[in-house]
Symmetry: C2
Subunit: 227 residues, 2 copies
DNA sequence: GCGACTTTGTGCGCGCGTTCACAAGCGCGT
DNA sequence: ACGCGCTTGTGAACGCGCGCACAAAGTCGC
């Protein structure tokens, strides 16, 4: 099979995005299993653990995709799989995270213990509001935006988290990019424009609720007019 | 569909999930446009507004999918489109939301103004910790879990939000389902088992960071070993 | 009033992801 | 030692969603 018409300039190392999105779920389930003292797991069991997002076949294909070995007739070694997935996700290194915007959500994120236990360290908190500067949240002081390039430089890169109102998000995003941040998690309810080479993932609570609302709406309509 | 004139394109129950997931983004952008006083918008412009998640063709196909009319040579009427999408998402009704777990994240959610302005009303807050009961957060008192069926009954259904630690999530989920909740937004870092007819959407901050970590990792690797 | 430009609506082909089904491999009991 | 059952790994088909490209349609300029 030769490559079709398109120029093969960008060769992918072969991990589909859909698989990448599931690896963290597997990792989560595997950590839970390890805590329970389980040392081996089958694709069937792992799929059940991750819930609706996993089928046994998907699990096997995903895992085979990253070259990790299972043992036929037995299953996968939990510890080895954790190591393999962690390596693939780049979690050997503990990534520094900078949070911009110390409002309601920023406070919650700064105080969230889940980051530290999953391979991330909150490096600093920033806010544009001078009244907030110096305030200590989750053990870290709130710093001015001007410090951002310094912190990112010190850490040798970082993941940026935007927890500001929508109006400020694009400006903050630009500052993050200018400071050298190439991966951004955006909680502000707005789309962001970024140059090539910068990844943005967005989490919008209202959007999630609206998607649920759609299905709820449909379910209600179906009750009134049954098939 | 060769009939010209006022032939109504009946929207069939077949709206792709991918489209449903984008409708809230369009709605968000349209509200912003309306606030700016814009009354008409082209698929091109709307696509640009939603950022990387939208191409003009996708916008057109999505909108045509829900039967809303644009005017050829002009574009779409912003107000009409807002009404159409809102109706399709079931936002004519203001959905009640119950939040379970008033920790860091629960506090932030209770205080988040974005819900009220996007078609949702926080109906009540719950927590299993007796020490928290009665505490007022975001204008609402924290109530015991035992009140959950009462509240859901009063509201005639509700969307449940789980903001508890992972260990409690499945139990809370079961209680929500037992109380009649059929749509759940889960912030706890764990998979949930639910019966048929119940929708769960999950938001895991650490998972999002790990996906970013993967790409960051890959970008770093590409610098060392360029193509 | 008419032509030309703009923008929607959509049919088609393609590529990705999911699922099915089965062969290969490994351990275990006998 | 040998077959039996369990589980992985994977090839192939299916289906969905995306982008392209063009026809229909409506507006604006002259």
């Amino acid at each position: 099979m030769t490559h079709p018409g398109t120029a093969p300039a960008r060769r992918r190392p072969g991990i589909p995005d859909a698989t990448v999105a599931r690896l963290p779920l597997y990792l989560r389930a595997l950590h839970a299993l390890a805590d329970e003292g389980v040392t081996r797991v089958s694709s069937d069991e792992l799929a059940a653990r991750v819930g609706s997002a996993g089928s046994p076949a998907k699990v096997r294909k995903d895992l085979s995709c990253l070259g990790s070995y299972g043992t036929r007739g037995v299953g996968y070694d939990v510890e080895q799989l954790v190591a393999s997935i962690s390596a693939e996700l780049g979690l050997a290194r503990r990534w520094p995270v900078v949070i911009v915007g110390v409002g309601n959500l920023g406070h919650a994120l700064a105080g969230y213990g889940g980051f530290a236990s999953r391979g991330f360290a909150i490096a600093a908190l920033f806010d544009a509001d001078p009244a907030r500067l110096g305030e200590v949240v989750g053990g870290l002081p709130v710093r001015p935006m001007a410090d951002l390039p310094v912190v990112v430089g010190e850490q040798g890169g970082a993941i940026g988290v935007i927890a500001t109102p929508a109006e400020a998000a694009q400006d903050v995003c630009d500052e993050l990019v200018a400071a050298g941040v190439r991966s951004i998690l955006n909680f502000a309810p707005t789309g962001l424009q970024v140059p090539d080479g910068v990844d943005v993932r967005k989490v919008d609570l209202a959007v999630e609720l609206q998607i649920l609302s759609f299905h709820e709406h449909r379910k209600a309509a179906r009750q009134v007019v049954p098939a």
